[in-house]
């Protein structure tokens, strides 16, 4: 139906995965996102930074229509995934979210076994034809989540029994298991200690090989470490968007500079 082939060697000129144009978000009467346009590239880590309440999480949730679950939320403008408008009436948000996975701020493993947590997505989307297939997907996802070695002997134990960092990596592995094209991460490290954060960051860097990753973070060091592109949000506006190295070393907008140097935020 549409072209999902991405040239493996396109390093310099990456494809645009998500193209958001003039996006407006309203929560009731509050205008939370004001006219944001952004182009997110494939196989790239894009970081959204900005002070609390600037709308970066709201915007992130627009990208897989998670805001649909909030009654008073209204989204205007256009968000194209591979050239298709995801807010088109033809698009089922359920199918969209299978392609655009999400990892949340707080680790939220289901009250199931570790195995069933990972197998949840593949099962509902019918990715495995038999048990062996499913076993393989679970193992592969847990390996990609950099948690396989820690849990391989206790796959039948509840996912809620893991430590916070392990839970978050489990949630990332769970998101990866459904083979999404884009992975959205809403402050995935805010509940983690530095060691677990480092593991998750390493993981994000690896995921870049296959996915387009969008990460919301409060830590500017984290944004600088893991991302190639950075978008700075302030009061619902996209202030600046560009190469991470350029944003952090030579920001164009004075507000970006103030935020990065710690004067506002």
């Amino acid at each position: 139906m549409y072209d999902t082939l991405t040239p493996e060697n396109a390093v310099e000129q990456k494809e645009i995965k998500i193209d958001a144009e003039n996006v407006q978000v309203f929560y009731g009467d509050t205008h939370a996102i004001k006219d944001v346009s952004v182009k997110i590239e494939d196989k790239t880590v894009t970081a959204f930074i900005g002070p609390s309440g600037c709308g970066k999480s709201t915007f992130l949730r627009c990208l897989n229509r998670m805001n649909d679950t909030i009654d008073i939320c209204r989204v205007e403008g256009k968000i194209l995934l591979d050239g298709e408008d995801i807010y088109d009436k033809q698009v089922d948000p359920v199918q969209l979210r299978a392609k655009v996975g999400m990892v949340f701020q707080k680790p939220n493993p289901f009250p199931k076994s570790i195995y069933d947590n990972i197998a949840y997505g593949p099962r509902i989307h019918g990715l495995a034809r038999n048990k062996a297939d499913l076993d393989e997907i679970v193992e592969k996802s847990l390996r990609r989540g950099a948690i396989w070695d820690e849990v391989k002997d206790r796959l039948d134990q509840p996912g809620t029994g893991l430590s916070g960092g392990q839970q978050q990596r489990l949630c990332i592995a769970r998101a990866v298991a459904t083979e999404p094209e884009v992975l959205l991460m809403d402050e995935p490290c805010s509940a983690l200690d530095p060691i677990a954060t480092a593991q998750v960051e390493e993981l994000i860097d690896e995921l870049r090989q296959d996915y387009s990753v969008v990460i919301v973070t409060h830590s500017m060091q984290q944004a600088a470490r893991v991302s190639q592109k950075t978008a700075f949000f302030h009061l619902g506006n996209l202030v600046e968007f560009g190469e991470t190295s350029q944003i952090f070393t030579n920001p164009v907008d004075p507000r970006t500079e103030s935020y990065i140097t710690g004067r506002i935020g």
Binding site: N64, T69, Y120, T178
Partner: protein, 486 residues
């Protein structure tokens, strides 16, 4: 002075003590309350406590001991000849009390005066009629000795009442004065009054516990009594329930237990799916306005008295089931049946199941739903595979609570299930439950000490054990569930 008035005076003294104590300590501190160990109110409270607590304790003891003392004194007045044949001293004493109270009422109503009573000694024939006028019935003719005892009773009672008033008010004043003298700015009034408050809190919580213990021990005592008269083995394992007024009854619990469990089972089969589906709709699908209307509307069901459900079973559901199901199917022609009671009880239980399940489903964190939606799951997949499993322990708890409610339910089964103790599988047949039989065994005219009556206590205790077990299980499961997300 009556006891109520005395208590009121004590409270007045205590509240006066509160204000006096407070103002005294403020004056002692020279108006600067920072010099005080505690806030002024605590000093006031200390004075009030010293004024009220010992006096009230004394009142309680006095009120308990006074009748015992009077009884003792007055019964000396009664001679063996005054006790009618076949009667007992306690019957005569109750006559004495009734005459004494009657005289009090008569005086209060102005039918008689104290002088007239004093001269009444000679003419007792008239007294019975006079007491009848003020609504006090005395069984037999009043004998002189009995009347004399009643007079002594009245004298003692009024004397002791007066004495109590004086002593209690004196103790109250003394306590308040003692506290007034003791308080000074360095006095640890907060610690004293907080200890008193803590004692009050402990007292309140122990009331419930002690009541439970009391109920259990009274059941236990009568049950042991029953098992002395009736074989425990027969009670627990006999398959027949056939009480006889002349004795020689079969009192096997099994048919009743079967009826109880069968009716409860039918009720749960009816209530659990409906309640659960209603809960899922309310918590996951219903819009805010619908939910705001529907949830209270369902909970209204819980507010209907069970006797009204019983009427519904008797008049509507019973005949309906008989005419359209039981008779066409040839399964019976009784309008009271297990199914009637079970269905109506199921209706009663729907709000229990739905309301409690709705609460636990709502308690499943939103992040759980987000996590599932974020993986591309549909709403129904999310509910079936994430939310319900997460809420399952709470739902099981709700179902068990509903079950213990069903097992203990009486009115609906009295009117819906009938009174025949039967071991049968046919749900259209009339059966009966433990609760119904407790009522019928205790409301009869049989002698209290017979096994036919005492069996009610054994049945009650058995029922209590079953529902207690279910409640404990439910609480255990609910608590285990709570630990998961906190």
């Amino acid at each position: 002075m009556s006891a109520g008035l005395v208590i009121l005076v004590v409270f007045l003294i205590a509240s006066a003590g509160f204000y006096l104590g407070r103002s005294r300590i403020i004056r002692a501190a020279g108006g600067d309350i920072r010099k005080l160990h505690s806030r002024p109110n605590y000093y006031g409270l200390t004075v009030a406590l010293f004024g009220a607590v010992p006096a009230l304790l004394l009142t309680i003891f006095w009120l308990i001991l006074q009748p015992v003392y009077i009884e003792n004194q007055v019964s000396k007045q009664i001679e063996p000849g005054d006790i009618p044949e076949g009667g007992s001293l306690s019957l005569v004493m109750s006559d004495v009390r009734r005459i004494a109270d009657g005289l009090d009422v008569a005086v209060a109503d102005g039918v008689m005066t104290e002088d007239k009573i004093a001269t009444l000694d000679t003419d007792l024939t008239d007294l019975r009629a006079r007491l009848g006028e003020v609504g006090v019935a005395v069984a037999s003719d009043i004998k002189p000795n009995v009347f004399g005892a009643a007079t002594v009773y009245r004298e003692l009672a009024s004397g002791l009442r007066m004495a109590m008033a004086v002593v209690v008010i004196g103790v109250s004043l003394a306590g308040a004065a003692f506290a007034m003298l003791r308080i000074h700015p360095g006095y640890r009034a907060r610690n004293v009054s907080e200890r008193a408050i803590k004692a009050l809190l402990i007292l309140s919580s122990s009331v419930a516990i002690l009541t439970t213990i009391g109920i259990i021990s009274s059941l236990l005592f009568e049950t042991l009594h029953f098992f002395k008269l009736y074989q425990a083995r027969d009670f627990f394992f006999s398959m027949t329930w056939n009480p006889q007024f002349r004795g020689g009854s079969d009192l096997g619990i099994l048919p009743l237990l079967w009826g109880t469990l069968y009716v409860s089972f039918v009720a749960l089969v009816f209530a659990v799916p409906i309640g659960l589906l209603a809960a899922v709709y309310l918590s996951e699908y219903a819009s805010k306005p619908v939910r705001a209307f529907a949830k209270p509307a369902i909970e209204i069901l819980a507010g209907i008295p069970t006797i009204v459900y019983g009427l519904f079973a008797l008049i509507t559901v019973g005949p309906l089931l008989r005419d359209y199901f039981a008779q066409p199917l040839g399964l019976g022609n009784s309008s009271s049946s297990v199914l009637t009671a079970g269905v109506v009880m199921g209706i009663m239980l729907i709000p229990f199941v739905s309301s409690l399940s709705d609460d636990v489903i709502n308690a499943v964190p939103q992040t759980m739903r987000d996590g599932s939606y974020g993986l591309g799951a549909t709403k129904s997949e999310t509910i079936k595979q994430v939310i319900l499993p997460a809420a399952l322990p709470g739902i099981v708890g709700a179902v068990l609570l509903a079950a213990s409610r069903a097992i203990g339910e009486t009115m609906i089964v009295v009117m819906g299930a009938g009174a025949a103790a039967k071991l049968s599988l046919n749900p259209f047949e009339a059966m009966t439950t433990i609760t119904v039989k407790i009522v019928s065994q205790l409301t009869g005219d049989t002698e209290f000490a017979s096994p036919e009556t005492l069996v009610a206590f054994a049945l009650g205790l058995s029922l209590f054990v079953v529902t207690l077990g279910l409640n404990v299980l439910a609480l255990y499961i609910v608590r285990k569930y709570r630990e998961q997300y906190e």
